[in-house]
Amino acid sequence: MRRQQASGWRKGLAVTKLGFKESLAYKFHYFVSLFGVPVNVLIYYFLWKAIFTYSGQDVINGYTLQEMVTYYVIVMLVGFITYSQVDEWIEYEVVHGHMVNAMMKPLSYFKWHLYNTLGMNSLGIIIQIIPVMLVGLALGLKAPSPGNLPLLIIAITIAAALYHLLTYLTGLAAFWLLRIRGLRRSRRVIVAFLSGSMLPLTFFPAGMQKVFSFLPFTFMRFTPVQIYMGKVAAAEAVLGLCIGLAWVLALYLVTRWVWERAFKKFSGAGI
């Protein structure tokens, strides 16, 4: 007799809960980062303060110093919210041959890791956001215009989905390469550069900006920040989010395609 499966939500919630409990076991790790993370904001602040002072201008590429601070603070906050380290976990599982554990659960491998990521990271998000906000406020962080809030929430959700999907894809590479530390690092640098977390994308030549605006990376950091700061018109933002959403769908389909091959590779080559 076939057994009834639990609903997707119930399974998802249970895995998320377990991940959250696990993250509580590492709470000390987060409390330590309380002190380190805000320093990043200070670094950007002093760097840009120096640039503004020596250039003698009040506005550079459309940003005032206060906007610049806002930009980096929001980039960091979006970074916390969308954080995913699933590639590291997959690498660990593959190298040590522990994937069978996940495969013995009545959940797809993708969902297992998605819910685990949600659970594992929610504590970190809450703990890390506060000090960065406080430092940001002290340096003149601007509030978002309330009208943009719905769009902002959608933008951050898309950013999180894209970032997780890309990280998951990076992780799946471990099924062929085993050790993927180099790949993980490259991914991080490429995302940092092309998503605008190092430098606002408006600092690049117009042609490059045009190209960037069609890449998925833009939607991981730059788009939500632009919406927060009210730098894009609503219509333009909606259009951008549609492209972002299309990327989510595309990357999701790619992960499924890659996963099928990864599973074949894994189950074909012995464990």
């Binding site: 076939r2 057994r3 009834q4 499966q5 639990a6 119930r10 399974k11 919630l13 249970a14 895995v15 809960k17 377990l18 409990k21 696990e22 076991a25 590492y26 041959g97 522990h98 069978v100 554990n101 495969m103 013995m104 659960k105 009545p106 959940l107 797809s108 074949k264 894994f266 189950s267 074909g268 080559a269 012995g270 464990i271």
Partner: protein
């Protein structure tokens, strides 16, 4: 599927490619550019079936194909050819549905969240496997009592002893009352007491719920006490399938002679005899009575050696299995 059967495996074959490389730095660099592959046949077309409520022992030397068999049966392996039907499923085709019916304990893999009490992992299982709350509570209580885990399940898994951890893994694998449970080396590294408790628990669960167990282990005593039937796998094929005492009968012609001597001698050779162990004043000799007789061997020993003591016995199960492996 025949009535009463829950597993039917037919001509299961599994070949896979592995990269090979000669040792040395030069060869390591060469391998970067040109990989050599070697095809390995892990399973050469095995056929067997298992009835509901059986406890089946799967034995064989390392690399014989035991784990490959378990992986194919648990749905994480695509076979090269052949069919597998378990509980009406083809395991690797409907994995998510199928795994609700089975439980797996990997003796060598961590299966519970390391930094949390086992209880937290159990709770997750309850939801994910859709276990009705009351069933969950009674089943868990019963297992905790049988394995005396009252305090153990509250401590982080990392602080548990190997035996406690294994017991918790066993509980986790049984919470959803699976029809079929795979135990892959469940007693590895455990002491005798823990082994006994686990063994009694497995027998009790088998009787109580008619759970079918498939166990791989290198511990022959465990097999002897748990399994009425064993399948011996070697070089990817089944070399024996039947009751354990059946193997003994097959090798009834073998006897073991332990000799103690007054003077130091440690060589012995005769047709039909193999020396199993040598110590300065002791020899352990295996006799194939089809090729020679006990009388001849003992006469020879007494004539040529300074014999202090002689003991003739049936070979223990470990040595019989070794004989099967060597064939």
């Amino acid at each position: 599927m025949k009535p009463g059967n829950i597993i039917e495996v037919n001509g299961l074959k599994k070949a896979y490619k592995t990269s090979k490389r000669d040792p040395g730095l030069i060869n390591a660099i060469k391998a970067l550019f040109k990989r050599q592959y070697m095809e390995k046949e892990a399973l050469k077309g095995i056929t067997f079936s298992v009835k509901k409520g059986e406890i089946l022992g799967l034995i064989g030397p390392n690399g014989a194909g035991k784990s490959t068999t378990i992986k194919a049966l648990s749905g994480v392996l695509f076979p090269t050819s052949g069919t597998v039907e378990v509980l009406g499923y083809t395991p690797w085709e409907e994995r998510e549905d199928y795994v609700q019916h089975i439980g797996v304990v990997f003796g060598q893999k961590p299966q519970l969240v390391w930094d949390l009490p086992a209880m937290d992992s159990f709770e997750m299982h309850k939801e994910v496997y859709n276990i009705p709350p009351r069933e969950y509570a009674t089943r868990l209580k019963r297992m905790i009592r049988l394995l005396s885990l009252e305090e153990v399940v509250k401590k982080p898994v990392r602080d548990l002893s190997l035996g406690e951890r294994m017991k918790c893994k066993l509980v986790a694998s049984l919470l959803h009352n699976p029809d079929l449970v795979f135990l892959d080396e469940p007693s590895i590294g455990l002491d005798v007491i823990a082994k006994n408790i686990m063994r009694d628990f497995i027998i009790e669960t088998n009787k109580h719920n008619r759970t079918t167990f498939i166990i791989t282990t290198h511990d022959m005593q465990e097999i002897e006490r748990l399994c009425k039937r064993v399948i011996i796998i070697n070089h990817g094929g089944i070399v024996y399938d039947g009751p354990l005492h059946g193997i003994k009968q097959q090798f009834q012609s073998f006897k073991v002679v332990d000799v103690k001597m007054e003077t130091e001698r440690n060589t012995f050779s005769k047709k039909g005899c193999t020396v199993l162990e040598k110590r300065p004043y002791e020899l352990r000799i295996q006799i194939d009575t089809k090729k020679t007789t006990i009388k001849e061997v003992i006469n020879l020993l007494i004539k040529r050696y300074d014999v202090a003591d002689i003991n003739v016995s049936d070979p223990p199960i470990e040595e019989i299995i070794e004989l099967v492996f060597r064939q």
